[in-house]
Symmetry: C2
Subunit: 376 residues, 2 copies
């Protein structure tokens, strides 16, 4: 229990993202030791004041709040943590779950698409979900349009999972509060954000990676160009999940995104049979990689992060502290590239990057890449 409280304090500490969380746990014997080392690491990273670590009482209050709501917090590496989601390098360190935790380990398919979907698009999402739900958990994002239609369709014949962007106690959009309650009753609602978090724009990409991580395949219906659904599709591909897209007429602008995905290799999907015929039992490593959209080098959600290596030479670390900051910019760069340009060991560079991240100056991204943290 102490361990869980400390884990929660660690993951709610500012500048500790999902990847850093994993690195700290890999480096230190216990979460308590990691917490104790944080101020020093952050100071080495150039931080004036130490990062705010939530108190034990605050962590206990969060757990109590979840308990009162009837929810549970499942930590990464704990039994019950969704096994396919765990494969993401930046998997949420903990998920708050309302409903049936076991459902999160089922074979699942995601259905996502436009909020301003057409009546036909919603009809398709709903009937696809109804046809697939008897054998598969249907995952979506509780949004208006396609998401809600998919949840409704799944509720009719089976079970569904909603991944929400804010806290479990802040259903969004507000008019879907009743839908969220229905989903929690027979299925599950999951949130990465703590209770009381109002969903902001920056929470949605994180929510999208949870959807991508939970599913074996993702169906995209009516996604506009540069929409959140296309980002979810990209995350799904990077995580080795199968991608399905429902085609539409070139005269319908809402069909553009899904048609593009098909052109790039997504399975053209008209019926549930198209999904079932192409759904694997496990995530693969296959990406589309045919389009510039997907050609941005090793993005590697499925790639394990380089673990922080305590054995770095002290002199090298000192040199890395001088050289590394100058090699960083707003565009993500790989840790290997930085090490090559410094002519230093990856261990030393990684050690310094962890300090810089805890110092609030660097952001660690999936695929072992880093960028300067551009604060407003």
């Amino acid at each position: 229990m102490t361990d869980m409280i400390d884990r929660l304090r660690l993951l709610r500490t500012e500048s500790v993202g999902p990847i850093t969380y994993r690195r700290l746990l890999a480096r230190f014997a216990t979460p308590a030791e990691a917490l104790a080392a944080l101020p020093e690491l952050a100071a080495a990273g150039g931080r004036a004041s130490p990062p705010r670590i939530p108190s034990r009482a605050e962590a206990e209050a969060e757990l109590a709040g979840l308990h009162n709501l009837g929810a549970r917090l499942i930590f990464l590496d704990q039994p019950g943590y969704p096994p396919f989601l765990e494969q993401l390098a930046d998997a949420p360190p903990a998920l708050a779950v309302l409903g049936d935790v076991a459902l999160l380990s089922s074979r699942a398919v995601g259905i996502v698409g436009a909020r301003n979907a057409s009546a036909n698009g919603m009809r398709l999402a709903e009937s696809l979900a109804t046809e697939l739900a008897p054998g598969l958990a249907i995952v979506s994002g509780l949004a208006r349009g396609i998401d809600a239609a998919a949840h409704h369709g799944a509720l009719r014949s089976g079970r569904t999972i909603a991944a929400v962007a804010g806290g479990l106690d802040m259903p969004y959009p507000p008019e879907h509060a009743r839908l969220q309650a229905q989903i929690a009753e027979s299925g599950a609602v999951v949130a990465e954000a703590p209770l009381g978090t109002a969903p902001l724009a920056r929470h949605f990409p994180k929510r999208n990676r949870v959807i991508a991580g939970l599913v074996l395949g993702l169906v995209v219906i009516e996604a506009a160009a540069r929409s959140g659904s296309l980002l979810t599709a990209r995350l799904a591909i990077e995580a080795g999940r199968e991608l399905f897209a429902v085609p539409g007429s070139p005269l319908d602008p809402r069909a553009k995104g899904a048609n593009d995905l098909i052109r790039q290799g997504a399975h053209l999907t008209e019926t549930a049979a198209d999904v079932l015929a192409n759904l694997p039992d496990h995530p693969g490593r296959a990406g589309l990689n045919r389009d510039p959209l997907f050609q941005h080098g090793p993005a590697g959600f499925t790639e394990p992060p380089v673990l922080w290596d305590d054995g770095a030479d002290r002199a090298e670390v000192a040199k890395a502290r001088r050289l590394v900051p100058g090699l960083l910019g707003g565009d993500p760069v790989s840790v290997d590239e930085i090490a090559r340009r410094c002519q230093l060991s990856t261990a030393a560079v990684t050690a310094v990057l962890l300090e810089l991240e805890l110092g609030g100056r660097v952001e660690t991204l999936p695929g072992n890449r880093v960028a300067l943290h551009l604060s407003p």
Copy 2:
């Protein structure tokens, strides 16, 4: 000129199809010799009365009729015969052409689809043709719906070719007589059937292979399952031409055929740019071959026919005459298979099959396959 008259008499003889025509010309030094040998070959093939060979006067009358119409007859192997069409094993031995013969050797794209197309489908066909026609000849079949829309669109910005099922003097459907005349004025109208031929159901598959043979790529818009457009698509694939299909909503039954083609590997096509980006300079050998529709063994429009070999051993031919008929049925079987089962040379089997075909008992199909001719 005599040679041309004899060629015409040979190809208009009953039981002489395009493949047999090529074999006879390969075996005999001149068309006249082939004509002279026909009765004997047909008798060996079990025919009671010799096949009806058109008279010299009849052939001359056909040429005069074409001349009066302002049309020309172009024979296979003559300069001006469309070079990509010539690659088909069963290329028409001659094409009647109204309009600009040179256009038939241009880079061309076919646009075909449903006769009962939607307004949107016709709009797409028309705009696609208008956008492509400045650089490419647009080929279609003069039918109602998508075909007519493609011709109209092409006429607006460039040139178009109509391949018709009947004779050049029998425009079909009748209300497209004016469209045919417009096409002939700036482009070309081609017919395999002699003048005076009313288009019957059996002429349309032949017309479809002419469309497939003329083009580097074929665009399918709104093709129903088992429609003529899908057959044209199959012929195009077999001939190594690129296949393009315009997607549509799964809720629109008219989109089924084109969506199926995309699933099988056709290029998803929304705009002219999608066609231009994937159009080769020459036909390839690449087929889709991912679907049962396309998995019927070597259909080989692009495969050269086995040429009739005069060097067959007489004793073997005599034996083949006894054995081959019993190995034939309504289902096509390959000549190699027959030879293997008789334990005779392919030359002997081929010689006997030619006799049987001229005797009206066997039909030769592309891909070096034969079947019993099932007459009504």
